[in-house]
Symmetry: none
Subunit: 320 residues, 2 copies
């Protein structure tokens, strides 16, 4: 399948690169790596994401070139849709993007849709960034510092600093090669993990105050309301990583973050230490993701939502 | 120098393995790796550390075999002294250990003493564990799961999960090889980083809620009262690391944690990112410590205490 991707790269001239809305480090790092690759090859490449880049990722080389509206761009030969199991994940422009002639989908999610004709998927890879690294090695192209920094960030963030179970020896080998090619692991770690704002720390404080434990301490539940965000003057992106703090509690197997998107609409993020497949939990509730990290959206009041989530967790835990 | 180490291993039969008192992950992981290596070769090996193994490292394979008294052991052909720049670092038994005929010193510290005849030192290595990994590869011996787990932990902890500047591409390559040989990076990370209690997380939440910024956002101030501890059923030890969270805030140069020991008595912990010497701040208030980490005790009500600390910080910042 590498060859088909290379064929598209060689035969096309204008590319759109995109990934899922509310982008994370893997979505952005992977996209920007492809952007630098194509630009370096003299191709015409545009990188688009529906949502603005979270401040923590603004250090990524090329991040200022990401556009957030597709009104003034069109006529692409091909699109790279990255880190998306479904075309819907790109957001409002899914139809316009979906109608581009050649679509290359590079992803590491378990359940991948069939929206593209060229599918580069490996659900054993830690991240989309790791798969792109493999592609570049297969292509034999030089990995620039810009590419290395973006891909290292993609891998670092999707493995939680090489701590999640998706970290394999290949992941660490890829990271080593990226450092060899100029990724500065200290600088990147500092940008990612040591630039929290006071607002974020206060919001984290508020959020951890809501911590509840269920099922004998194996399920940790936190809640973030719009009222809490307003109180601290915080943005949705400030909540990133909170659910991982809950996962780090001794005895907790499943961490749940219940984020109030708007009145009676919640986004549920689920994390597992490995014993329970939270992808199955999310699927029961109409969402998806990975075995250890998944998400879904539920409507209803907080009490009902909590009951639904805990019910789904119980079902999956019993039947597994 | 690898050859001289191998010569000692081959020519000797009885070995003492030790490292510095108050051992960390590198000291313990490195020592236990050598222990498993020698035992696997049919050698007689004893592993000693002056201090008991911290609970967080009890999962290390072989950790129960570490002895903490040398009263009943003697007559060693050779000693491995690991992760020690000076023989004094092993503690009270330095003379007995220092008199063993052959001493192999494996270390990655910049300034290394001359207490041993066989010195395997590389201050560009992330950790002693990384150097031992190189030795094993040079020897061509099989790396068992027990050895891999110990060396991976040594590298992981000394690089702060591959985040410190001592992480190089070679470090990541070594980590990859150890994972290839059976080190379970998820399990090890969980043992090391994910054993916080729910009580501690809730207390952290409460504490971060008290965050105040002063001096244009360069001074971050948190407060922990006895009432907060009582509310969460927390112990003083649960507050460990909170001040470091404040230091990680963007723009903060000095982090202050004001801990209420008892009514009108406070313990002040200070952390600096490097620009301001907080040892000088603590000294002004009757305490002491290092340039980047210091402490003092102050009596008075919270308002006065806060004014005193901020006043001292201001004085030091102005005169530096």
């Amino acid at each position: 399948m590498f060859d088909r991707v290379i064929e598209v790269i060689n035969s096309c001239s204008t590319f759109l690169i995109t990934s899922h809305a509310r982008p994370d480090g893997d979505a952005l790092g992977s996209g920007l790596a492809i952007y630098h690759l194509l630009r370096g090859m003299g191709k015409d490449a545009v990188i688009y994401n529906q949502d603005t880049t979270p401040a923590v990722y603004e250090f990524l080389p090329g991040s200022r070139n990401i556009i957030h509206s597709m009104n003034s761009v069109n006529g692409f030969d091909a699109a790279f849709v990255l880190d998306c199991s479904e075309i819907e994940r790109v957001g409002d422009e899914k139809d316009r993007i979906g109608s581009i002639k050649h679509i290359v989908n590079i992803d590491h999610h378990a359940s991948v849709g069939t929206f593209s004709d060229i599918l580069l998927v490996d659900c054993t890879a830690s991240s989309t960034g790791e798969i792109i690294h493999r592609l570049l090695k297969y292509m034999g192209v030089a990995i620039s510092v810009n590419i290395a920094t973006n891909l290292y960030t993609a891998i670092l963030t999707d493995t939680g600093s090489f701590r999640y179970s998706n970290t394999g020896s290949k992941t660490l080998m890829a990271a080593a090669d990226l450092v060899e090619n100029g990724a500065d692991c200290r600088y990147i770690a500092e940008m990612i993990y040591e630039t929290r704002s006071a607002v974020q720390i206060r919001l984290m404080g508020n959020t951890m105050d809501t911590l509840e434990l269920f099922e004998g301490g194996t399920v940790g539940f936190i809640c973030i309301t719009q009222k809490m965000l307003r109180k601290e003057g915080a943005l949705p992106e400030h909540t990133e990583g909170f659910v991982d703090i809950v996962r780090s509690i001794q005895g907790v197997e499943i961490a749940v973050c219940c984020y109030e998107v708007s009145r009676d609409r919640f986004k549920i993020s689920l994390r597992s230490k490995g014993k329970v497949n939270v992808e199955q939990v999310a699927r029961k509730l109409g969402g998806g993701g990975h075995a250890n990290a998944s998400a879904c959206r539920i409507e209803g009041n907080f009490k009902t939502v909590k009951e639904n989530v805990l019910g789904a967790i119980k079902e999956v835990s019993i039947t597994r």
